[in-house]
Amino acid sequence: MSERQVELEILRYNPETDDEPSFQTFQVPCPEDWVVLDAINYVKDNLDRSLSYRWSCHMAVCGSCGMMINGEPTLSCKSFLRDLPDKIRIEPLANFPIERDLVVVMDDFMNKLGSVKPYLIPSEQKAVENGSYLQSPAQLKKFKQYTLCINCTLCYAACPQYAHNEGFVGPAALALAHRYNLDSRDVGRSARQDVVASNEGIWECSFVGACSDVCPEHVDPAGAIQQTKIASTLDYFLDLLPGRNQ
């Protein structure tokens, strides 16, 4: 198999020894069918064991290997060298604090994810012997696209609004809230609404759509947020009708 010499410029940062991050360059001989993650693994196994980054499945399912590749938030396991120039700049995901090298601190995202209650809230808890919660294919189709989110946070790295205001609940969490709100087995919409329809929720989104552009699973969080805006607006006007809040 033909090989190509690729130059990786990787942002390095170790809080124990470095005042600030700086780039380090590695020359990597790469077979033509490699992804960027293969090249990074080559660096770790052969050139520098101290390089730190997250990865697990190598097939765009676990969502842990997101990084900035030539400035774009990308899963490194799905970023093919054949589509990239000979010089590749690799940085940790934008808009998150760096923990070390390409590893970012995910706490903010994890807290936001929890805040939208991303799980089924049924009207009544059924015992196992009372059977399952049934759903038709048409009901599933309504929200299925939004179930494909793998929590890779590329959308947060791409979002200009999150860059500007870190209080913004953000694309993936809002899309997941929408996913459960649309689920016929769920009655939790009002429990999510405090966070979803708050000032830092859907209304903070200015519909740039960068989140949907970078989503590796084609979830379209931007679309979910706009749909939620319409539903919440409807709520607002319905609340003005007499007799609604008694």
Binding site: D33, R49, S52, M59
Partner: protein, 371 residues
């Protein structure tokens, strides 16, 4: 697995390792069984549906349960091995492959039923299954064996419960059926959780705090020692490569006394050399060199348990196939193997009778009558 094993719980039935017959070459990414369930066919380099030569036929044009492409994973992976021996597979830079052909399903059905397969094949091997067959080969997939536990997920060590792939509750026998890992997780995960909660709430005297602190300090010293060790001659990546090679060549789809003997010797050697691993990364922040070193130590112990369990089972059963003992031998080996950890030697293997209730062992027959 290694943690329980080192704490004295035996690893059961470790010689049974499942190969999934249709992974992508190089990456090992799985192309789901669903693609064959929808009607995908496997052909060799001559475009021939070779599974009919291995008691899996007749080659109906439609998918049929327990026949041809819907035969069990072990049989399909073994058939691939035989085709490769006969020179009827296709040579690629990532090893031999056969073709999984979905073209006759048509674009609409592939997009509706197998969108992920199409996406993976286009991305990772540059093949659009609507227009071309997908290159596939068997890839290591699942460990039927694991931490010895009962149907309440309880192990021999009080307070330790195990569920999922790390455990061996023995619902899989010698060859797991597709999707049964979900059963293991859901059913036995729930049982493990309930059992552990009951034990915790019914136990009045809890472990002595000083003893726990002492154990924690010992563990901390061990890990700290690994980080600070200087002058070691071995690297994590180097030992891992040697382990992968010896396990694939010696304890793969087909095994012999010689091949397994080689693996046992190499694994015992790697276990000793592991004591000389030196880390390059001495940092206390997100140190993945350390994580990989700890994982490697665990993998070496588990791999040795696989090789030693396999060389002691002198028969062929399910995913454990011996070229030198081709028959199943229920008289001697209708037993679970139990590998007991020994820090300085290869594991000690013991056997325990299999408890059989409703499903008596029978002959495995596939294929079916001509329609």
């Amino acid at each position: 697995m290694a943690m329980a094993y080192r704490a004295g719980v035996p690893l059961k039935d470790m010689e049974f390792v499942q190969y999934h017959p249709t992974g992508l070459p190089g990456t090992g990414i799985l192309i789901t069984e669903g693609s064959r369930g929808e009607g995908g066919i496997l052909v060799n380099k001559d475009g021939y549906r070779y599974l009919q030569d291995y008691d899996l036929g007749p080659p109906d044009p439609w998918p049929r349960k327990k026949a041809m492409e819907l035969g069990p994973r072990d049989r399909l992976s073994q058939a691939f091995w035989h085709e490769a021996q006969k020179g009827r597979t296709i040579d690629t830079p990532h090893g031999d492959v056969v073709h999984l052909d979905l073209r006759h399903l048509g674009e609409k059905k592939i997009d509706e039923r197998l969108p992920m397969v199409r996406d993976l094949a286009i991305s990772y091997v540059g093949v659009d299954p609507v227009h071309d067959p997908i290159p596939v080969r068997p890839v290591v997939h699942y460990t039927m064996g694991g931490i010895d536990c009962d149907i309440d997920a309880k192990t021999s060590l009080e307070g330790l419960y195990a569920a999922g792939e790390c455990a061996c509750v023995s619902i899989n026998g010698a060859n797991r059926l597709g999707s049964n890992s979900l059963t293991e997780l859901l059913v036995f995960g729930a049982r493990a959780g309930r059992g552990a909660a009951e034990l915790a709430s019914s136990t009045e005297s809890h472990a002595d705090e000083a003893a726990i602190r002492e154990q924690a300090e010992t563990a901390q010293k061990r890990v700290g020692g690994l980080v600070q060790r200087a002058g070691g001659s071995e690297s994590v990546a180097g030992l891992r490569r040697e382990m992968n090679t010896t396990m694939e060549t010696g304890a793969g789809i087909y095994r012999t006394e010689d091949s397994l003997g080689q693996s046992c010797v190499t694994m015992s050697d790697l276990r000793q050399r592991y004591a000389n691993v030196e880390l390059e990364d001495k940092s206390n922040v997100y140190n993945t060199d350390l994580i990989q070193a700890l994982e490697l130590g665990a993998m070496i112990d588990v791999a040795e348990a696989i090789a030693v369990s396999a060389i002691n089972r002198k028969e062929s059963r399910g995913s454990h196939q011996r070229l030198d003992f081709v028959e199943r031998d229920d008289k001697t080996y209708l037993k679970h193997s139990l590998a007991h950890y020994d820090a300085n030697n290869e594991p000690r293997i013991e056997y325990r009778d299999v408890v059989i209730t409703r499903s008596q062992p029978g002959e495995r027959v596939y294929g079916g009558e001509q329609k």
